[in-house]
């Protein structure tokens, strides 16, 4: 299963090689040209159709992770986060370090050794460390280096009710949707550029340069987004819910969706009976934030698949939502072929 391979691949921001390789193989048969740029973005297009509009579809390859910053004399590794992680989810997790995927664990002081007051305090990232089993610094230095990237050691698995669990669904799910969409859009008369961007999690750094190079007439970003449909959250604050269809972005902290694109997405979904929801999230940013401000401005929109426990070692999403998102992307692009570009 492609999503399993994508989810279990290691690609912390700026080290996206494993995901890039999987995607390159997948796209070889269905695209005309595949290239990479200086930031490592993977850019593929269907075929060149002289004079036709250029549509950019974008999903990011990178994931949040950690980086080794210091090796203590006793052989344990200090680390910082790469991208935004709630430090409270780090403790009692297994990780993999560096290119050789050296296994390690993030432990915590045994409950038996804690003072009652300690249990009321969160374990801060600066107090945590990775244990690779090394008996001292010298032994640790044989297998890890300062600057090594660290990912969570999480397996992909199918759960009941079309649900799946795994790491890095943000945004490997987007990568999957984009690959599936490209397979179906290979004969489109539009110029479709699939951009698999780098470094989204550290400030949406990859997508902007790709957008500049392509200079598209329209961009659609495909993301995984927070679902907060969990107990003790007011329904008004759900932002999105798992299993209710792909979420169409209205606005977030980084951009306001182009009104024409948003309306077209909604009308296409209605026309083809694709369930959808509106992403009611004002926080968070996506690659669209960079893309829409590129050059003289690029009309941009976004659709996302809701995921619970995003930016943690393991998330849950619905394959129904994923399949509906593929359908929505394809039908949206086809609508441009039929009706032209959406206007404000």
């Amino acid at each position: 299963m492609l999503l399993k391979r994508l989810s279990e691949a290691f690609a912390v921001s700026s080290r996206e090689d494993e995901v890039r390789e999987i995607l390159r193989q997948e796209l070889k048969e269905v695209t005309n040209e595949i290239r990479t740029d200086v930031l490592g973005n993977l850019i593929a297009n269907n075929k060149f159709n002289e004079g036709m509009p250029k549509v950019m579809l974008c999903a990011h390859m990178d994931e949040i992770g950690l980086m080794v910053t210091y090796i203590e004399d006793n052989g344990v590794l200090r680390f910082e986060s790469v991208g935004s992680i709630d430090q409270r989810v780090l403790v009692s997790k297994a990780v993999r370090i560096g290119k050789n995927k050296v296994p390690g664990v993030i432990g915590a002081k045994a409950i038996h050794l804690q003072e009652p007051d300690e249990r009321k305090k969160i374990l801060k990232i600066r107090d945590l460390y990775i244990d690779v089993g090394a008996k001292d610094k010298k032994s640790a230095e044989k297998i890890v280096n300062i600057g090594d990237y660290v990912t969570f050691d999480t397996h992909f698995q199918e759960l009941p009710g079309d649900h799946v669990k795994g790491k890095a669904f943000d945004d490997r799910i987007g990568c999957l949707i984009l690959v599936e969409a490209m397979k179906r859009l290979r004969d489109s008369d539009l110029n479709i550029y699939a951009v698999f961007s780098t470094q989204e999690e550290v400030g949406t750094r990859g997508a902007g340069v790709a957008a500049y190079a392509i200079d598209p007439d329209l961009a659609l970003v495909i993301e995984a987004t927070t679902a907060s449909d969990v107990p003790s959250v007011d329904k008004a604050l759900y932002s999105t819910a798992v299993g209710k269809g792909p979420a169409i972005t209205v606005m977030d902290r980084s951009f306001i969706a182009h009104q024409g694109i948003r309306e077209r997405l909604e009308s296409v979904a209605t026309e083809h009976g694709i369930p959808y929801q509106l992403r009611q999230l004002l926080g968070g940013g996506t690659d669209a934030g960079k893309i829409h401000l590129t050059r003289e401005g690029i009309p941009s929109g976004g659709i996302s698949v809701p995921c619970r426990y995003i930016h943690s070692p393991v998330s849950i999403a619905s394959m129904d939502d994923v399949n509906n998102a593929v359908e929505l992307v394809v039908r949206f692009v086809e609508s441009i072929e039929q009706k032209g570009l959406p206007r404000i």
């Binding site: 006793n74 403790v91 009692s92 089993g133 050691d153 009941p160 426990y309 849950i316």
Partner: protein
């Protein structure tokens, strides 16, 4: 030497299977089959008592009296975990803890809910973006956490009921320097020590019957050992458990050295002669050891064994362990192997007279 290394790899494999299986106190079933199979390889007889304790007997190879003295080895095979307390709207599960669990280690933890069939779940909490400012500085409390298994409320109620037990899900990890990590090393590591001891004994002669017991319900009050000791009526009982190994942020006063060999306990729940024998034998056959002071008798099977029936001479041998009661407990395969050798060497050296002298103070 080559042979020994291969055996050693096998023990790591056994520990992997034991560690990854689920067996929360009171529902140790999934581990029971693995443990009894493993014990059966080295024992003359294996039985399971009404509590679920596995009792494996390896008879004396030299019999000098009608009834050989009895030595009981005990390691518990239950583990800490969670228990379902409520099935919420839309299929989310609320839970409480079984044994000493630090709620701070739970967010983002994968679990297996032992319902009518096992279900993989994730422990979730309110997502950061709907928290009020400053909330991310607070500890997430147990009552704010839930298990997400991806089932609808109706399905969840069909397959899962209140009271079902939940174990942590963690693949066994081989670290460097012969260290291993996983859940439930407490006390499946102790069980592997017993296996190693039995294996060593199969190459030695001994004058005592060895009762190797995998006990249940240790984490909820050393209950399995209480009844199994009564049933066996041993002359000597040796509990094999885990103790805190050195780690960042903890005083060396409270820990023993990882890879430093077995920790031989001294304290009220350890018979002074047994303690001395273990130290002497470690020196004699060159087995690494360390001494752990345990001023208060509590928390291990030795506590229960000692005060069974007319009293049993008890000892406690512990494997150094980091991050106890998390899902990433770390232990050293070297410590496990050496502890097994030590126990075998002890058993091979004792006889009827030794046992009788334990009553003479």
């Amino acid at each position: 030497m080559e042979l020994r290394r291969r055996d050693f790899m096998d023990f790591k494999e056994v520990l992997k299977h034991l560690s990854e299986a689920g067996g929360v106190s009171g529902q140790e079933g999934p581990v029971r089959y693995i443990a009894s199979d493993a014990l059966g390889k080295y024992a003359d007889d294996v039985r399971v008592d009404t509590f679920g304790n596995i009792v494996a007997l390896k008879r004396a190879t030299i019999q000098r009296t009608n009834e050989s003295p009895r030595v009981m080895l005990a390691a518990h095979y239950d583990e800490i975990g969670l228990i379902v307390t409520k099935i919420e709207e839309r299929g989310f599960l609320r839970f409480s803890t079984v044994g000493g669990v630090d709620p701070r280690t739970l967010p983002g933890q994968e679990v297996v809910v032992q319902g009518r069939e096992p279900f993989v779940g994730i422990i979730g909490a309110k997502p950061p973006h709907v928290q009020s400012p400053g909330e991310s500085k607070n500890v997430i409390k147990l009552e704010e956490l839930f298990i997400d298994i991806g089932l609808s409320e109706d399905e969840a109620k069909k397959f899962i009921k209140v009271g079902d037990l939940v174990n942590f899900k963690r693949d066994f990890v081989e670290l460097s320097d012969n260290m291993v990590a996983g859940k439930s090393m407490d006390d499946r590591a102790g069980l592997v020590v017993i296996l190693k001891a039995l294996k060593e004994l199969s190459m030695l002669n001994h004058q005592v019957d060895v009762y190797a017991v995998a006990t249940v319900q240790e984490e909820v009050g050393v209950r399995g050992a209480t009844v199994s000791t009564y049933g066996i009526t041993p002359d000597i009982g040796i509990a094999i458990d885990v103790t805190h190994g050195h780690m960042e942020g903890v005083s060396k006063r409270d820990t023993v050295q990882m890879g430093g060999g077995s920790a031989i306990s001294i304290g009220p729940h350890v018979h002074p002669k047994l303690f001395q024998s273990f130290v002497d034998i470690s020196r004699e056959v060159n087995i690494p050891y360390q001494i752990e002071a345990s001023p208060t008798p509590a928390g291990t099977d030795a506590f229960a064994i000692q005060i069974t029936r007319e009293g049993v001479a008890s000892a406690l041998i512990s494997i150094p362990l980091r991050y106890m009661h998390t899902s990433v407990e770390v232990a050293s395969m070297d410590d496990i192997k050496e502890a097994g050798r030590l126990i075998a060497a002890f058993i091979a050296r004792i006889d009827q007279q030794y046992v009788e002298e334990l009553k003479c103070f």
